[in-house]
Amino acid sequence: MMRVAEKAKSEGNIKIVEDATCTFCGCLCDDMVLTVDVDAKKITKAKNACVLGKALFLNYEEEDRPFALIGGKEATTAEAVEEAAQILANARFPIIYGMSDTTCETQRKAVGLMDMLGGTIDSTTSVCHGPTGMALQGVGESTATLGEIKNRADLVIYWGGNPAESLPRHFARYAVTAKGMYTPNRKKDRTIVNIDVRHTKSVPVADIFIQVKPGADFELLWALRALVKNRHVDPNIEKKTGVSMKTMKDLVERMKNCRYGVLFFGMGLTMTRGRHFNSAAILSLGSDLNEYTHFIATPMRGHGNVTGADTVVAWQTGYPFGVNFSRGYPKFNPGEFTATDMFVRGDADAGLILASDPGSNFTQAAVDHMKKIPMIVLDPKYTHTAKLARVAFTTAHYGINVPGTAYRSDGVPIELRTCLDSKYPSDEEVITAIYRRVEQLLIAKKRSKGANNKRQKAA
């Protein structure tokens, strides 16, 4: 499995890997040039990487940890697979959660596993841009790839996000200083607007900064929608949002009169009061503006392959996250089948956490329930969640040790090149092994149930 990159040049113990992909954030920059010291098993240079990308590559080190732990005791991968399969096969309401830092190939296998078990599958989407997925179903979206935005957009609005710190190359690769086909003069050909509740590190690149009062994004979006449609807006809006009517009208004129506009939005919208309605409001604003010009609205996604998780789960089940199979067909209901809700209510009786660490960021009530039920964790690191798991697998890093596919935040699939081998199995290998064993156990369970029924009938 541990295939080495195809596009690599070697000289002695030094290997250069071109066009590698950084999986740290949703930008999925695929122009990395990595210098690898094969003997030392270290990446010594990561050309083109931003500070976060450099941290990912240059700090990479294969930790010398057990292949697996069962109840905190060292075990082989095979023993851990057996234990995990037993837990899952005996569960009535199991859940798989995470999946944003692994390959699409693994995500696909995870969907198959939950389908077979009649469990629930959810990704970190439910705690970041899940509200956008819910809004999409209600209002649709006007969207484009980041490549199209780079080449065409002359008005770029960032709302409720701080890409300078969370997606550092977003400005340079796609939307601010990137040279595009119809924006050859880079930033000079674009107007950049930043709307946020606070002055973030992304503000200095903006030509216009609009500071909105906390909790008033929905009202501001609603007022902008009304102004775009030439409808009445109550003057009280200035007090509510902290934004003057003059500023709103100026922004609306810019939006209507640009050649190609884009609204990028982040978790400042999706995870604050109003959630999916905030997302619906900004998506609707983007669509409304198409009466006048070409406009799109698109989320800025954080985790490396969280978009892949949505995409894979959607093409397998019809829904992007929070999907339950207990009746034998997929059912989607955020709030009911999303991980944090299931843990807080105490619904799940077993959990498999795939490449994520909810133990460090879920609410205390959710973590308390996770401590009560058997948990299985797959992660290259010994995370908080791994510490409370019954079974913890050490797996190889996707994008460094493991090849595969990941989706950029605009839904473009990117191939991952590897640069170093790992002694640990990939997530996909572990999930596949668990799948096979669970399949055997479920068949055996069915048979013994059938035999019991027969015996009862005969008696």
């Binding site: 569960a91 009535r92 309401f93 199991p94 078990l117 009649g118 469990g119 819910m134 179903q137 209600g138 929905f218 009202e219 609603w222 007022a223 929608r225 009304a226 449609k229 409808r231 009445h232 807006v233 109550d234 009280n236 809006i237 509510k240 009061r273 109003g274 309605f277 199979f325 207990s326 009746r327 989607f332 209901n333 955020p334 709030g335 009911e336 619904d347 799940a348 009786d349």
Partner: protein, 269 residues
């Protein structure tokens, strides 16, 4: 004497119990009722596995014990009565078209989603999404009544098309969002962003509430129709004050982003 289903032991995981419904039990013997399916997580069990069953089948079912983990009770119900002594889980009365459900304590999220007739009464509090459409759905409740004596969560009446939702306590945010028609009456306080994107319909509040910037004040008047509604709710046990029946209401029109034909009536205190 009605049919009594007494819970033997609270289930470990949620149970989908759409077979607990007068329509589905009509004409069945107690043995047949005992064999009706329930979905205990990913496992199919029977009603008899979890309940002791007594009484006789006469269109009225009485559910006893801690049923807060039971979902979809009374799904697609069209007649009869369902008396739930304790609390009930999610989706009670989903797609109901007739009959009556009375919940003695609290109801979890999604009370009466997409119902078209009948009445659901919750004596305690209800969760989010009372009388709503499911995600992606274009039409929510198309008829019937949902009466919540306590508080309700967010999005009560989301995309409602007709019918009545009354809340004796307070409501969360986005009451009547995307409302197409129908009536929502809230006696307590409303959360934020009431009536956002409503096309038509009426939302009535007995407490002052902040309006979205896309609503305009129209007039103050004493709506005749409201007296009928409030007297009806008083009969159903909600604490309606005389001053509300004869009171004057401020009428706000909206949402101007949509048709602007909805109204929010706020009691002039």
């Amino acid at each position: 004497m009605s049919l009594r289903l007494n819970l033997k032991k609270k289930p470990d995981v949620p149970v989908e119990a759409d077979s607990i419904c007068p329509d589905k039990m009509e004409g069945l013997s107690l043995k047949d009722i005992s064999a009706l399916p329930l979905h205990h997580g990913n496992e199919q069990i029977t009603v008899g596995d979890l309940f002791s069953i007594t009484g006789k089948v006469n269109g009225e079912i009485c559910l006893e014990g801690d049923t807060s983990r039971f979902k979809m009770v009374g799904a697609s119900m069209s007649k009869g009565r369902l008396l739930i002594k304790g609390s009930i889980g999610q989706h009670v009365g989903v797609a109901m078209s007739g009959g009556e459900i009375i919940v003695g304590k609290n109801a979890d999220n999604w009370v009466g989603p997409e119902m078209s007739g009948g009445r659901i009464t919750v004596k305690g509090n209800a969760g989010h999404m009372v009388g709503c459409a499911y995600r992606g759905g274009q039409v929510g409740v198309t008829g019937g009544e949902i009466i919540i004596h306590g508080n309700a969560g967010n999005e009560a009446g989301n995309t409602m098309r007709d019918g009545l939702i009354a809340v004796g306590g307070s409501c969360g945010d986005f009451t009547g969002i995307n409302m197409l028609a129908g009536t929502i009456i809230v006696l307590g306080e409303m959360g934020w962003r009431t009536g956002a994107a409503m096309k038509r319909g009426t939302i009535i509040s007995m407490q002052d509430t902040e309006m979205l910037p896309t609503f305009t004040y129209a007039c103050s008047y004493r709506p005749d129709f409201l007296r009928l509604y409030l007297r009806h709710l008083r009969k159903l046990g909600l604490p309606i004050e005389d001053a509300w029946i004869s009171g004057c209401y401020h009428r706000w029109s909206g949402d101007s982003i949509e048709l602007n034909r909805g109204e929010v009536l706020i009691l002039d205190r």
